[in-house]
């Protein structure tokens, strides 16, 4: 019984982490119809920025609890700098092209950022485990977990709740929903679609960077860390239905649980299991679990 509990708790922690990244990906797709391969690079950038800021903060001998502020600051900085740069500097020239071509555009951005990261931070690994250990640990039914992981779950829940509230309750959220449903009509009704795109891409970038920044203390930050994340996040949003927020939540939960179960019971199929689930879901529900019907072209 204890084992099952461990699977579930690990699954929840893993799902929370996935959700923070996937929700950004699905947001960008929903609004801009771009399946953003560079999302993995934004994640890696967040991790590197966090590693640098936390490292500098601690080596200056300041209060260790401030390092959490540094994690958040890193994510916000990456979002505010990289997001607008790429949306205004590149993507806006590409709107209207085929979805697949847009995937390739972001693939090119991904390749460029991978090398840019190596140029800026070098190829050595960075370690900033202080924020991870600082909070101590708690025990659940005899199993010990770091409080940091619990905090990750809380952050993920907060992100989800903020999204749900903002979309349903605020003016900006409603405008965003309108653009998701029909870009052209929204523009005709006077919504500044250009601004919505910019804000969306910045927000999505920030979310990916948040995922990276929060992961930085738990792993060694190395080149290539974004490559795997992007296909995992893909699996999540495709399972949930591209562009759906509820889908991203459910997809994260499914992928998280499946992977956790695989790691505990059958480590050999760990990587394989996630994509097997994705394939099965797509075969059963071609457009993912949550996806509106589309009109056919005659």
């Amino acid at each position: 019984m204890g084992h099952v509990l461990a699977v579930v708790i690990d699954g929840i922690i893993y799902s929370s982490w996935l959700f923070i990244i996937a929700v950004g990906l699905t947001l960008i797709y929903g609004v801009m119809k771009i399946l953003n391969l560079a999302h993995g690079s934004f994640y890696a950038l967040g991790a590197y920025a966090a590693a640098s800021l936390v490292g500098r903060w601690l080596s200056a001998g300041r209060a260790p609890f401030g390092s959490y502020a540094m994690l958040i600051l890193a994510a916000i900085l990456v979002g505010l700098v990289v997001g607008p740069l790429i949306e205004r500097g590149l993507l806006r020239f590409m709107y209207g092209k085929d979805e697949i071509v847009l995937v390739l555009v972001t693939y090119a951005v991904f390749l460029i950022l991978e090398d840019a990261i190596k140029l800026v931070w070098g190829v050595d690994a960075y370690f900033v485990s202080e924020p991870y250990g600082l909070l101590g640990s708690l025990s659940i039914a005899g199993l010990t977990y770091p409080v940091y992981s619990a905090a990750l779950v809380v952050v993920s829940l907060l992100v989800g709740a903020a999204f749900a509230l903002a979309l349903k309750r605020t003016r900006q959220g409603k405008l965003l929903t309108a653009v998701i449903q029909d870009r052209e009509i929204s523009a005709a009704m006077g919504i500044d679609v250009r601004r919505v795109y910019l804000v969306t891409f910045t927000l999505g970038t920030m979310l990916a960077a948040t995922g990276g920044a929060l992961t930085a203390p738990t792993v060694s930050v190395v080149p290539g860390m974004g490559v795997e994340v992007i296909v995992l996040a893909f699996a999540v949003v495709v399972i949930g239905g591209l562009g759906s927020f509820a889908g991203a939540a459910l997809g994260s939960l499914i992928v998280g649980m499946v992977r956790s179960a695989a790691v505990h019971y059958l480590p050999a199929v760990e990587l394989f299991s996630v994509y097997a689930v994705m394939a099965v879901v797509l075969i059963a529900r071609p457009k993912g679990l949550f996806r509106a019907l589309e009109a056919r072209k005659i």
């Binding site: 092209k97 460029i112 840019a116």
Partner: protein, 314 residues
């Protein structure tokens, strides 16, 4: 049998030029051209899919399958004959495509791309965890004979080059004829409007299924050729970045001519080799930048440079 048209003549002339010229190429250039021709086969198969309106982000699946099928013939059966390896690779990739194709045939657009990506990542996940096949390291392949005759290392290099060139020319001519045939002409029709194709009495599903299998066969063959040329295989061949690269070369080449994939593939290999040699730490950046430039300024592919034939809107 009708007389060969312009494209077919160019393909055959190109083959003769390659076969004659290959004997004088230095070893590195021979290797590069061989690899480019083999990968050109993959790009040609993507051209067929793109004409049908489909883009596969998981062609690494068949590429890797072909390579591992060839490798396992050597590893398990201790057969080093290139002909056997290539045939087995072709058979395995076709067999898998027969099943996977059934599932893929009802998907379009981004979902076709994503589902094929999932299948290739499944293979990647399996290979990475299979210690018997060398996990992430993969294993080496050596060709010792071709159709029964044993080979020296210099003659092996030329043979593999000649094989790739012949396959490339045959595939190009074969694809050209197929695209001009009744069945082949249905591909762009499916891309443009599926409903109308159905109303006209053709089965969209069958067209997509058939084209997926042809594409898989070509790609599996290319994977095996690559394995024989490079002499080493690893699961990276099934990773999504490999597939992404193929899609890029396909966009670079454009869908206007069956010869374009080989030209595009050669250009890409040259670009990568030189980028890797002159800036080993930033070669990905160079490739990425080239990709953006092509997408911005040559949206219908390289072939657009050659004038009238490039005017076709993709």
């Amino acid at each position: 049998m009708r007389a060969p048209d312009r494209t077919e003549k160019i393909a055959l002339l190109g083959l003769f030029a390659l076969l004659a010229g290959g004997a004088f190429l230095p070893q590195w250039a021979l290797f590069l051209v061989t690899l480019a021709l083999a990968k050109g086969l993959v790009v040609l198969s993507l051209l067929l899919l793109m004409r049908t309106g489909l883009v596969s982000f998981g062609h690494g699946l068949y590429y890797c399958l072909g390579a591992y099928a060839a490798g396992m013939v050597g590893q398990l059966l201790h057969v080093g004959d290139a002909a056997v390896m290539l045939l087995v690779a072709l058979a395995v990739s076709c067999a898998v495509a027969l099943i996977v194709g059934l599932l893929l045939a009802s998907y379009r657009g981004i979902f076709f791309a994503m589902l094929s990506l999932a299948f290739s990542m499944i293979l990647y996940g399996l290979l990475v965890k299979s210690a018997a096949l060398g996990s992430t390291d993969g294993f080496n392949i050596t060709v010792t004979a071709a159709a029964g005759a044993s080979l020296s290392s210099a003659s092996r290099r030329y043979l593999l080059f000649a094989l790739s060139a012949s396959f490339a020319a045959m595939a190009a001519v074969g694809m050209h004829r197929f695209l001009g045939s009744h069945l082949g002409r249905l591909a762009p029709a499916v891309r443009d409007n599926e409903l109308r194709v159905e109303y006209l009495g053709a089965s969209v599903r069958r067209v997509v299924y058939l084209n997926t299998i042809i594409a898989a066969a070509l790609t599996g063959l290319a994977g095996a050729l690559t394995a024989l040329v490079v002499g080493h295989i690893d699961p990276e061949m099934a990773y999504w970045t490999t597939s992404g690269e193929f899609v890029f070369v396909a966009i670079l080449s454009g869908t206007a001519s069956v010869l374009a994939p080989f030209l595009g593939s050669l250009l890409f290999e040259l670009l990568r080799s030189f980028a890797y040699q002159y800036s080993p730490n930033t070669w990905q950046m160079v490739v990425g930048a080239a990709m953006l430039l092509v997408i911005m300024f040559l949206p219908t592919g390289l072939w657009a440079v050659f004038g009238r034939r490039g005017k076709r809107v993709a």
